[in-house]
Amino acid sequence: MAEVTYLEALRQGLWEELERDENVFMLGEDIGEYGGAFKVTEGFLEKFGAGRIIDTPISEAAIVGAAAGAAHMGMRPIAEMQFIDFISCAYDMLTNYVATARYRAGLATPIVVRGPSGGYVRGGPFHSQMPEAAFFHTPGLKLVCPATARDAKGLIKSAVRDDDPVIYFEHKFLYRRIKEDLPDDEEILTPIGKARVAREGSDLTIITWSAMVWKCLDAAEELASSDGASVEVLDLRSLIPMDDAAILGSVRKTNRVLIVHEDTRTGGIAGEITSRINEGAFEWLDAPVRRVTAHDTPIPYAPTLEDYVLPGADDVVEAARLLLAY
């Protein structure tokens, strides 16, 4: 066992997959000699060579498009977006080309597009986004968002092996804040599409993912100690495919649901989850489904503004109390 950070776990996962399969390669901006903006790929160039660790021009559409073309030929490309905020530059390529390829033309496109996501780091409007909903709506893309070091590793490895395109949202706030003992002698593969119960509880279910898992665990602890409430925290881990069985199972158990995400509110994924609960477990609800999300604004820079816009553990506690008393 060795204690590794979320970032190191991700790095290990990439490294292991590159070692395992020579069809795996990486492309992105500044990932080679520089080792990546966050040093995720430090040392990769030396180990795997410039043929497999490819520095590209600032061309997100070309990065994703080239990855798709290579994937058609049997390769397993991993495309890095330097910040996930820039994935919108490849939106056309991802939604029109990549997402449709299997359906319209029977083309396998096993690519991974990954990048540092999310806020709480004073990154301003263009280094803080969590643009999951933009791709959630497009059939044909899988979306994963690890919260723990173990899943950071396990999901990147599963994503590389998946036969479909996967967008891997890694949370930069967690990069060096989350540490976990991971076994050295065990291959970690987190199944895509399976949620994880981050905390067991019986009074209320909080459905969440990515960095919000940690905020919700803090909130659950607070609710336990000051309110005596037993809160279950469900870490979805994968948004597409979504673990409906885990969601509905937890709803049937606790009868009260709070959905928490970092992305903005309107058109956010909480809305979709709410609908699924309505359709699948309406009669099990003892209170309306509620959500805690970011406000509908871009992510501002000033700490006071960012903290106001993004959801915090206190917001979760407050919403949970409303539900518990409903």
């Binding site: 490819i54 061309s59 990065i63 080239a66």
Partner: protein, 330 residues
């Protein structure tokens, strides 16, 4: 990096059999499209119909210059390129008629389909997007040290897109074995080239990326073939990305429903007199490489093949509605 219209020279590596085969594909392309027009007017072709009248020469010639194992990605007016690579008329008919037996089982339209084993990748409607994708395919060839080449078609309109820029630049930087065929056919839908760009020659754009770029008379089949062959082999031998601008003309509207009000009768007449198939027939006839009998025999074969294909395709059913579900993921 010359950009003059080079005179047609008979390519040394073509046999008489090759020359007749090129004729077959030229005529097949045109006849198949004419058949599609009929089907379209009969209401059997369901969506739009996009003609390549006047552009068959460069499509067939550039594709014919590739070798087995090479992969191309066509545009909507490159039916000829696909037929050369092995696409079957019946597949095209089924696609246009949205049959369950079509290569995409009714999910995609017209010539939006692919067969990577035969060497063609299906396009999407977003112009320029195929350039990065083909760069990725060429990247694979390079990484695997395979002596294969990718060819991607763009038009005067597609060159204005960001995807084109990113893809060509990426391919240029990576020195990928990719040939970019620029079809300068005068119009992107109704927009003439002078409203698309300020450059005098579209090949100048290629030069700005630092890649070898040439311009050729796109209606001179053998000239196109000869230059394409050179560029393909240059790419194959590690000289990096190449660009070939073929100057041609779109004699029909953007689609069958386009009244072409923006194209003058004089202009259309001028280019009708510069028809690539007519020029090719004269050329091989004058040179004594083919007899009228040879060509007539090929014409009859094409007529028969198309007639059979239409019969087969027409009788096929449309897909069941529920077959739309599934196949989004592996």
């Amino acid at each position: 990096m010359e950009s003059a219209l080079t005179p047609a020279a008979p390519p040394a590596d073509l046999t008489q059999e090759n020359l007749l085969e090129i004729y077959y594909f030229l005529r097949l392309t045109r006849s198949l499209e004419e058949q599609l027009v009929n089907l379209y007017r009969q209401g059997k072709v369901i969506g739009g119909l996009y003609r390549s009248l006047g552009q068959e020469g460069e499509s067939v010639a550039t594709s014919y210059a590739l070798r087995p194992g090479d992969i191309l990605s066509p545009l909507i007016r490159n039916l000829g390129s696909m037929l050369v690579k092995g696409a079957q008329p019946v597949e095209v008919l089924r696609q246009y008629m949205a049959k369950t037996s079509s290569p995409t089982a009714g999910r995609e339209m017209n010539i939006h389909f692919n067969d990577l084993d035969k060497g063609f990748l299906g396009q999407i409607s977003h112009l320029g997007d195929m350039v990065p994708v083909m760069a990725g395919i060429a990247l694979t060839f390079k990484m695997r040290v395979e002596r294969r080449v990718g060819m991607v078609y763009v038009g005067d309109g597609a060159m204005s897109t960001g995807a084109f820029h990113e893809g060509v630049n990426f391919a240029a930087v990576q020195k990928l074995p990719l040939v970019v065929v620029v079809e300068n056919n005068g119009y992107a839908f109704s927009t003439p080239v002078h409203k698309q760009t300020r450059v005098a020659s579209l090949a100048d754009k290629g030069r700005s990326y630092g890649i070898a770029s040439y311009t050729v008379d796109g209606n001179d089949v053998l000239a196109v073939y000869g230059l394409a062959r050179q560029l393909i082999e240059a790419a194959r031998s590690g000289e990096g990305t190449q660009m070939l601008e073929v100057v041609t003309y779109r004699r029909k509207g953007h689609a069958e429903h386009d009244d072409q009000r923006y194209q003058s009768e004089e202009e259309l007449a001028l280019w009708e007199g510069n028809d690539p198939i007519d020029r090719y027939v004269s050329r091989i006839g004058d040179a004594g490489w083919a007899t009228p009998d040879d060509l007539e025999r090929i014409d009859s074969r094409i007529e028969r093949e198309i007639s059979e294909a239409v019969g087969t395709a027409e009788s096929d059913p449309l897909p069941e509605g529920e077959s739309a579900i599934g196949g989004v993921f592996a």
